[in-house]
Structures are given as structure tokens and as C-alpha cells.
Amino acid sequence: MKKSSLILASAGALLLMAGVYLAFFVAPDTVVRIDDRELVQFSQKIFYFHVPVAETSFVFLVLGGLFGAMFLGTRKRSYEQMSYAAVEVGFIFVLLVMITGVLWTRAAWNVWWEWEPRLTTFLVLTLMYSGYFVLRSSVQEESAKARFGAIFSIIAAVNVPLTFVAGRLDSLKPVHPKVFTLQGASMEGPMLAAFLVSMFGMLLFATSLYIMRLDLLRAREDIEYLKEELEVG
């Protein structure tokens, strides 16, 4: 493992473990009152990991789009590799959001799936970025693959906020009663600290993944280059 990614990965992992400790042993439990009974909402603990995962995925998908735009602007191959690596890492985190989201929906609302704006957005995201990989594998020529990949990564990144806003638009859909809100008011002191530590750890860990992926892409390119040298040689 390269030094930079090793340091980032271990720092990220340490922070994530600290996040687990803070979430379970320091942050206060959320309590809801239902019919005069006080219930500890244990499922709320999922929040401390689920939301950092979601935000990390956003960061990397947006980065993928930005690098894609930079590739189109400069035609430098390295930007295209950065875009691809960022989208792939972002996609891993999108998948994680789906897994954890489904589990949370089950724990909080007693159903496996709910057509709720955030979950819907991520389902669309999953499908859209699956399309990104299908598109890349469906183009043979390397330069066209890079071009179309970069273009679609931009379109997809633009579409993310639009999907989210549209999800809240629909007046026809039944509204599920909100069991708890995630608004800032309920997040103070130890809760916020636990959340921020997890958030930061997740970002560091994801960055290390991104560096590894980028190394792999670059090494592959070197191999192609050497192979050509041998053939021409």
C-alpha cells in the first residue's frame, strides 16, 4: 500500500471507531413520547453512520463531475482518470447508502422500503450511475469512452439535486408520518461531535480509497504504454 493512502486509511478507520464509541456511549439516546410512554429510539444510532456515508457519496460524485468537466476542458488524460476513480468511489458509497437506508427504514418504520424523497433519490442515483458504468463498457474506443464517461458524469451530477428537489414536489403521494426529524435543533454537543467525527473519518477513508483506485488506473496505463514499447521496440 502506498504511504499516503495507508496513512489516510488508518486515520479514517481510527476516527470511524471513535465515532462508534461516541455514538453509542457518549451521545444521549433520543427519546420519543408515544401515548405518555417514553421510548428510547435505538434505531436513531444508525444516523451517525448513514448520513456521513450519504454525504461522502455526494462529495465524490460532484468531484467526479468536476474532474470530468476539467478533462473536457483540458483534454488531459489524468483528469479523466480522476473523474472515473471519484465516480467509482462515490458509487460504492451510494450502494452503502442504499443498504443502510433500507435497514434504517425497516428499523424505524417497520417496512423495508418507503418511497420517501431521500431514498427515492438514492435509488435513482444507483440506477443512473450504474448506467455510467454500462455506458463506459459499451464504448470500445478509449478516447470515446473517456469523453462519454466525462460527459455523463457531468449530466448525472447536475441531475442529483434536481431529483432531490423533485422528490419533495409531489403533492399526490401519501406522506408517511415522520417518526423523527433530523433537523439541527436536535443535534447538539455530544451528538454533533459524534456525527462530525464519523463524517470526517468517512471522508478520510474515502479519500484513501480514491487514491488507491487512481494508483490502479495509472499503473494500468503504464502497462499499456510498456506493452506498446515492447511491440514497437
Binding site: 486509511a9 421510548l39 460504492i92 452503502l96 443498504i99 435497514l103 480509497l209 490502479l216 510498456l226 515492447l230
Partner: protein, 50 residues
């Protein structure tokens, strides 16, 4: 929801995050190692050729 009902899902969330991330790291490291090996043998071959 009370603790008894919720804990499997909470544990499931935390485990699945670690599992997916670790699998991804392992896959990446394996591929990197393989690529490094190929790179090494290729550059030797290029050197021999001069």
C-alpha cells in the same frame, strides 16, 4: 422502537458499512499487487530489449 427490536438493524448497518469498505480495499489491493507484478516483469523485458 425499543432496543430489543432495533438492535439487529443497527448492528447490520454498522457491519455492512465495514464489510463493503473492507471488501473494496481488499479487491483494490489485490489488483494493485497484480498490476505491480506485471509492471515489474514488463519493465525488465523492456530493459533486456535495450
Amino acid at each position: 422502537m425499543e432496543f430489543q427490536e432495533a438492535w439487529p438493524y443497527v448492528v447490520g448497518v454498522y457491519m455492512s458499512i465495514w464489510a463493503v469498505l473492507l471488501i473494496y480495499v481488499i479487491v483494490l489491493q489485490n489488483k494493485l499487487a497484480a498490476v505491480k507484478r506485471e509492471l515489474g516483469s514488463l519493465s525488465k523485458a523492456v530493459e533486456r530489449k535495450g
